[in-house]
Every structure is written in structure tokens, then in C-alpha cells.
């Protein structure tokens, strides 16, 4: 009976794994991977929503009357490509951060920022 919701639970599990990675890992690349997992879980959610029991793919053919819902397919199709474009943008930002700070660990970066701002304040006082 409750098996009807199994897909949703898998989606939530994946989503939470993604969220956990984003929060708990300091490595920026790892964070982006976490975001990707989160993103894919949303895709899976939409696609499993579109499914109709006993239906076929939404390509019109003779003798077939039941199709799965095409609208979520369209949304997700474009979202995947947009997702990879934005992920690429994130990766380039990480690369630039690595060049500027010499590290992609969140803690190191924050540490360096603290040092910098402390130095600046000292400069102001002098």
C-alpha cells in the first residue's frame, strides 16, 4: 500500500545526501558534486511524477492511447542541460578560487580571509 510512495522516499533520501554533502564537506568540488546529486534527485522526482501506470513514451503512434505526461519531461530535459551549464560555471569559479587562494578547502579560505581583514585593520590603526 505504502509502496506507492517508495519513489518519493528514494528521492528524498538522495536529496538529503546531497544536502549533507553541501553542508558538511569543506571541499568546494565536493560541494558541487553534492549540488549535482540534489539536482538529479529533483529530476527523478519530476520524472516519476510523470509516469502513468501502463502508459508508453509520449510519442504518438497508432493503437496506443495511454501516454505518460510529456510536460515534466520537457521541463527536465531543458533543466538537465541548463544544470550542466551552471555546474560548469561553478567549476570555473572553483578553479579561479584555487588560483587566488591556493586552496579549495572552505576552512583554509576563511582562515586566509580572516588574516587579511586583521591585517587591514592593523593598517588602519597605524
Amino acid at each position: 500500500m505504502l509502496m506507492g510512495l517508495f519513489n518519493d522516499w528514494v528521492v528524498i533520501l538522495l536529496m538529503m545526501i546531497g544536502l549533507y554533502i553541501v553542508i558538511a564537506h569543506g571541499n568546494l568540488i565536493k560541494k558541487i558534486i553534492g549540488l549535482t546529486i540534489f539536482q538529479t534527485s529533483v529530476f527523478i522526482f519530476y520524472i516519476s511524477m510523470a509516469n502513468v501506470e501502463g502508459a508508453t513514451a509520449p510519442i504518438l503512434a497508432d493503437k496506443v492511447t495511454l501516454y505518460s505526461n510529456p510536460l515534466p519531461h520537457v521541463l527536465i530535459l531543458t533543466a538537465i542541460v541548463v544544470g550542466i551549464a551552471t555546474t560548469a560555471l561553478g567549476l570555473t569559479l572553483v578553479v579561479r578560487i584555487k588560483e587566488a587562494y591556493g586552496s579549495i578547502e572552505e576552512q583554509d579560505i576563511q582562515h586566509q580571509d580572516h588574516l587579511l581583514s586583521a591585517e587591514k585593520e592593523k593598517g588602519k590603526q597605524v
Binding site: 506507492g4 510512495l5 519513489n7 518519493d8 522516499w9 528524498i12 533520501l13 538522495l14 536529496m15 538529503m16 545526501i17 549533507y20 554533502i21 553542508i23 558538511a24 569543506g26 571541499n27 568540488i29 565536493k30 558541487i32 558534486i33 529530476f43 527523478i44 520524472i47 516519476s48 510523470a50 509516469n51 501506470e53 508508453t56 509520449p58 510519442i59 504518438l60 501516454y67 505518460s68 505526461n69 510529456p70 510536460l71 515534466p72 519531461h73 520537457v74 527536465i76 530535459l77 531543458t78 542541460v81 541548463v82 550542466i84 551549464a85 551552471t86 560548469a88 560555471l89 567549476l91 570555473t92 572553483v94 578553479v95 579561479r96 584555487k98 588560483e99 579549495i104 572552505e106 576552512q107
Partner: protein, 334 residues
């Protein structure tokens, strides 16, 4: 299936990225099982192919090991568990999987399924919704992709040709030595690349009848170019495909898309209403969808190529700088 992969991936390192690739492929097969063939197509090309590649290029620049200390893992776990619990509580009201009377299937979807044959005349409903009913949405998405491409360009483009010329000989000799090692792969890839390109074109123009269309075709096309770049080096690839040329194509794709809309407005219809493009509404729809998919394909393919080229270029530049530094260090003691 998905759960298994997802839990392994908590481990660190280079292997995670490989796992992401596998995950992409698995979710693609899941989409096939859910009758979403178009989506599966895209996910297989993007999730298993391009995203893995881009991440690999990125970690060659940023280092592959991860600092193992987590900050506040317990707090994160608590947040995650609470959010997850709330979401699961929310799902209890959801319609069951595969139910025919779920609200999502009763609103606009019946119109797409029942009337698109008469209104658009395209067999693949996904294509007709993508390129005709919701063409304005798709225009927005294409613009987002284009903007991401511009962002990458702005962040990474290497803008000192003078320095590059001076170094290019050394880089090339370095490349040659590296790429000669992969003789078998190179020959096989050389044979495959034309077919991949041909397949991309087929996917592009066959989107009306089967799964396919501009997004998928663009990604596959870009994958072929990226394969070539990986095997023969960025400099060879640049000689084949000019960077400013692809930038031009990326812009032309968006322009083509938008101008189809403007033309249909000039012909007396709404923005992106293709019925007026031709005397026969169905023929007009066909023409409009064809042009728009072409625009999408151009933009997606060239933006992906731009992104990869710039990342690879950065890497080449970093390598050459490192080499120079090493040489300087070596030469000073003498």
C-alpha cells in the same frame, strides 16, 4: 539501485567523480524505465559524459585529495534528518506512483496529448511541447545556457596572446610526447568521431519523430569535439575549430531562436506563434520547430565546447607556468 550508488559516494577522492558518472548513467536508465526517453537521452549524454569530463578537468587543476575534516558534521546530520523527516511527512499526501488521476495528469497534459497531432503535427509530443507550446520557456533556458557560457569566458579566457606565442612551441612538443602514447585510442577515435557527428545531426533533425532534438544533439556534437580535443591536444583542436567562430555560433543560435519569434510577430501572430510562418499552419509549425531546434543545437554545442576549451586552456597555461618555474629553479643553481 540508486540508493546503493548514492551511499558509496560518501567516500572521497577522484573515485567520487567516476561514481558521479555511473550515477548519471544509472539515472538515465531509470528515466528509460519511466518512459521518459528524451530525458534519458539527455541525461546519458550530459550526466554520464560531459559533466564527468568537466569535473575531471577541474580536479586536475585543483588537486584530487580532499581534506577529511568535516566541520559540524553532527549539526549537518541533524538538519538533514529533520528536513528529510518533514519531506517524508509531506509525501504522505502525495498521489501514489503511476496513478492515472493524479492532479498533474488532469490539467494541461490531456490537451498536449490529444490535440498536438492536429495543432502541431509532430509525432513526438515532447518536441512539440518544448518547441511550440512552451517555446518561450525554452528561449529562456537557451539564454541561461548562453549566459553561463559567457560567464565561463569572462572568468577563464586567457587574454595574453603574446605570451602564448612564445610558449606555444614548448607546449606543443610536450603535447606530442603525451599524445603519442595513446596510438590505439587515437585511431579508434578518429574512426568514431565522424559517426558521432553524423549521429548528432540525425538526432537534431529527427526530433520530430523520435526522441531527440536540439538539446541532445548539441550535447552529443560537443562530446565529439571534446573527444577530439582530449586525444589530439587543445592546440590542434583550436586549429580545427576557431574559438571566435564558436562564440559567433553560440550567439547566432540564440539570435536565430529569437528572430523566429520576431518574424512570427511581424507576420501577424504572437511571439513564437509559428502558425503564421507559412500558409498552412502545420507546415508553419514544422518550419518553426526545425529552425528553433537548430538554434538550440547550435547554442548548446558551442557553449559546451567553449566551456571545455577554456578549462583545458587554463590547465595548459598553469602547466606551462609550472614548467617555466621549474626550469628557472633548475637553471639558477648552475
Amino acid at each position: 539501485m540508486l540508493v546503493a550508488v548514492a551511499t558509496i559516494r560518501m567516500k572521497d577522492l577522484f573515485a567520487t567523480i567516476m561514481l558521479v558518472g555511473i550515477y548519471g548513467l544509472l539515472s538515465a536508465s531509470f528515466f528509460v524505465a519511466m518512459d521518459a526517453v528524451d530525458v534519458a537521452f539527455t541525461e546519458a549524454a550530459v550526466g554520464a559524459g560531459i559533466s564527468t569530463l568537466l569535473m575531471l578537468v577541474a580536479i586536475t587543476m585543483t588537486g584530487r585529495s580532499e581534506n577529511t575534516t568535516r566541520h559540524k558534521p553532527l549539526l549537518a546530520l541533524v538538519v538533514v534528518v529533520i528536513t528529510g523527516g518533514l519531506l517524508i511527512y509531506g509525501t504522505l499526501d502525495m498521489p501514489y506512483f503511476g496513478a492515472k488521476d493524479a492532479p498533474i495528469h488532469t490539467h494541461v497534459a490531456p490537451r498536449y496529448i490529444n490535440d498536438s497531432k492536429q495543432e502541431i503535427g509532430v509525432q513526438n509530443i515532447v518536441t512539440s511541447v518544448l518547441a511550440s507550446y512552451r517555446a518561450f520557456d525554452t528561449l529562456g533556458e537557451v539564454v541561461v545556457i548562453f549566459t553561463a557560457g559567457i560567464g565561463v569566458l569572462a572568468l577563464l579566457s586567457v587574454a595574453h596572446p603574446a605570451r602564448q606565442n612564445e610558449k606555444s612551441d614548448k607546449i606543443e612538443s610536450y603535447n606530442d610526447s603525451m599524445h603519442k602514447q595513446h596510438l590505439v585510442v587515437r585511431i579508434v577515435a578518429k574512426m568514431l568521431i565522424p559517426f558521432i557527428l553524423l549521429f548528432a545531426l540525425y538526432v537534431q533533425f529527427h526530433g520530430d519523430f523520435g526522441p531527440g532534438g536540439g538539446f541532445q544533439a548539441g550535447v552529443i556534437f560537443a562530446a565529439a569535439i571534446i573527444l577530439y580535443t582530449m586525444l589530439f591536444g587543445i592546440n590542434t583542436a583550436r586549429r580545427v575549430i576557431n574559438q571566435s567562430f564558436i562564440q559567433l555560433i553560440a550567439a547566432t543560435g540564440v539570435l536565430l531562436y529569437a528572430s523566429v519569434g520576431v518574424v512570427s510577430m511581424l507576420n501577424g501572430g504572437n511571439f513564437l506563434d509559428y502558425n503564421v510562418l507559412s500558409l498552412n499552419p502545420i507546415a508553419g509549425q514544422h518550419l518553426g520547430i526545425l529552425l528553433i531546434e537548430l538554434g538550440v543545437g547550435c547554442t548548446v554545442a558551442s557553449v559546451m565546447t567553449i566551456i571545455f576549451f577554456n578549462l583545458a586552456d587554463r590547465r595548459e597555461m598553469q602547466l606551462s607556468i609550472k614548467k617555466h618555474r621549474k626550469k628557472d629553479k633548475d637553471s639558477t643553481p648552475c
